[in-house]
Amino acid sequence: MIEVEDLVYEYPNARALKGVSLKVPDRTITALVGPNGAGKTTLLRCLAALEDPYSGRVVVDGRDTRESPREIHARMGYLPDFYGLYNELTVRRCLAYAARSHGIASALTATAVQKAAGRVGLIDRLESKAGELSRGLRQRLAIGQAIVHEPQVLLLDEPAAGLDPQARRDLAQLLIAMRDSGMMLVVSSHILAELEDYCSEMIIIEDGRIAGGKAIKVRDDARPRYMIELATARSDLRDFLAAKGADVAEADQNHAVILFTHNAGARARLLRDLVGAGFEVASFAESSKALEDAYFSAVGRAG
């Protein structure tokens, strides 16, 4: 669990974070989104105990970043937006160094290296030099270095920047696998489409503050988001859906976005009830842009 309380961060000439409070639960992938210059990277660096708050506090896994930065570092993986690799070292040695410098004993290092290389798909590249890898493979190696010690928390700043579509898909699958293995991930990006496939929560940073004041749940496998569109406008759409047990995220006379059970039978009954009540349903489908919908919905509210 990450807890941030009234975090203020100052650069000499600007206040970058202006009282941010949030909680990031375990076993989630949280998107940290917002326009360029909003304070995402600064917040991420504060979460990583790389920057001291001017006031307020950041607690990671029960430890205050001001009091115990190195204990937090030992339990954390971090991929900065502009990262470097030791180009003259082989992939195996890059991973071995990352493992040893995170406290993994010499005897266990080879196993940790194999496991991390396997997770990021670099088993067949262990003897290649880092400087000889393509952009996508370098990204994998950087993530491999960040997870080789199996951290409880993984922070990634713009991890998909510059990756081709296949590499992005691979990255999404990797992040989901890491979440399923018990990690908590926070991913910063200003490109919502990148985050759509794997994020379950979203924190929107605008001008150093959290828009809407708290994290937004954007994906719940038990209650996904569905988009309903009507061919003919009806003013009672919101009330009808609420009466049927749907959580209405947003609605107007022509469409609605709801959180509803994943159960097929229940969805079929809701659709039948809508049609039975005279709603001309043009489409009823799981939203493929849940994050984007939630983002603009929240930014709209904040504005």
Binding site: K18, A49, Y97
Partner: protein, 452 residues
């Protein structure tokens, strides 16, 4: 093995590089042996040691962190679980392992030669000297680069050259001091070596005194690297270690009063020792106020801690220049009180001491003030330029215009009336300090958070 050291060994000690170093050194020694009369292998080894360990090694040490910053690998290291001590020695001796490998070959030749021609005891002394000068040079370069990292400076080739020069200059100082007492140098140059050094009234053997001093200063340089590394790894440094260094430096340099007694007539040993300790503290104040980041956010944080009654927290944030200034101030007060025992000194020397303290106050405040003004990234350079004008240009103009009587405005002088110099210095000090504090308060007021 230390992972950071091991990583450096992987990078530096490749078989090709090891063979290359051995081959080049063997060829040079062979060539030196052929020239025989002018350039013996042991002389060549001595110069090569300085070149490989001091000059090149300083660059390797300077690059150990600056290179990580440049290659964007530093954040990853900062997020490792390595402690500051492990990281420091892994960087210091790992990045220079190739230099030490070459240096060890040279050193073996030097020591064998000294052991055969002078004796094993002298060879042992030479071993300590060569190891000491290498460690001091590399640690000083690493320290300079870590300080620069803390100041948020970039790492251009020129800046890395400056860090390297810090190591070379430190080594040059050690070499110069040691050459006065080195038994081997005395034999080679046919000049007598200094046998004794007067310190705190004792006559101490020069070689032993210098070697112990070398070891102590090498130790403090390593402590400095360790503390700067702690800051880089986001750990906090309390004030105690720097206070310990101030006490050490004050006691060490105050012991050289006998060296001044012929230049400063009428002053007793206590006055001279207080003067030496105070001068060292003042010098350290100038060095540290120039080197340390003068972070407005940190000063506001300290002020907030004081205001909330968290005095220990606030004191834990004291910077080295603040403690050095306090030490200089304490020495100035003590010296002033001591001098007041003698009516003549009270009228002549005391105003000079107080004027010196006033100018120190002004200069320190000037460095802080320059950081609060627009264009603060060049604040230190601006402060240095202003000080150059105040201490060199304006006095020169005053003298040229026959205004010698105005010099008391620029540095400690004894004008008539005698106290006007101290008053003028303190008036400048208080004015600049007040301006700096007002600027800090003003920027804080301007930046109150807007209600959400």
């Amino acid at each position: 093995m230390n992972p950071e050291f091991e990583r450096n060994v992987w990078l530096e000690m490749t078989p090709q590089r090891v063979l290359l170093m051995v081959a080049v050194l063997v060829l040079i020694f062979f060539a030196a042996a052929l020239t025989n009369d002018y350039w013996t292998p042991s002389i060549a080894a001595s110069w090569l040691f300085y070149l490989i360990v001091v000059v090149w090694g300083s660059r390797s040490a300077a690059m150990s962190v600056a290179g990580e910053m440049r290659d964007r690998t530093w954040d990853g290291q900062r997020l490792s679980a390595l402690g500051a001590g492990t990281m420091t020695w892994g960087k210091l001796f790992g990045s220079t392992i190739y230099n030490w490998f070459g240096g060890a070959i040279c050193l073996a030749l030097i020591l064998v030669n000294v052991a055969i021609h002078v004796g094993p005891a002298t060879a042992a002394i030479e071993l300590i000297y060569y190891l000491g000068i290498g460690v001091i040079a590399q640690a000083a370069a690493l320290l300079a680069s870590l300080i620069a990292v803390g100041r948020g400076q970039s790492h251009t080739r020129f800046e890395i050259f400056v860090y390297q020069m810090a190591g070379i200059v430190a080594a040059a100082g050690v070499w110069w001091l040691w050459s006065t007492a080195d038994p081997v140098a005395a034999i080679l140059s046919h000049k007598p070596a200094v046998d004794f050094i007067a310190w705190w009234g004792f006559r101490l053997g020069a070689p032993v005194f210098l070697l112990v001093s070398l070891a102590l200063f090498a130790g403090w340089t390593l402590v400095g690297c360790y503390r700067e590394m702690r800051l880089e790894l986001k750990m906090r440094n309390g004030p105690l270690v720097w206070l310990g260094f101030l006490v050490f430096a004050g006691i060490y340099f105050a012991g050289f009063d006998a060296w001044l007694s012929s230049d400063v007539t009428g002053w007793d040993a206590v006055s001279l020792r207080l003067l030496l300790a105070g001068s060292v503290f003042a010098g350290l104040t100038y060095v540290m106020v120039l080197l340390e980041p003068k972070d407005r956010v940190h000063y506001r944080w300290m002020e907030g801690q004081f205001r909330q009654g968290h005095v220990l927290n606030a004191l834990s944030g004291l910077q080295a220049w603040m403690m050095s200034y306090a030490g200089a101030f304490a020495m100035a007060v003590a010296l002033s009180l001591w001098l007041s025992r003698d009516p003549v000194s009270a009228q002549t020397a005391r105003p000079l001491v107080l004027a010196g303290m006033g100018f120190l106050t002004r200069d320190v405040a000037l460095f802080v003030l320059m950081q609060t003004l627009p264009g603060r990234r060049r604040g230190d350079y601006a402060a240095l330029a202003i000080l150059f004008a105040l201490y060199v240009l304006l006095p020169a103009i005053a003298v040229a215009l026959d205004g010698r009587s105005l010099l008391f405005l620029f540095f400690p002088q004894l004008p008539s009336p005698q106290w006007s110099g101290a008053i003028a210095a303190w008036a400048q000090g208080i004015a600049v300090a007040g301006w700096a504090i007002a600027r800090l308060a003003l920027t804080e007021r301007d930046r109150k958070p807007v209600p959400a």
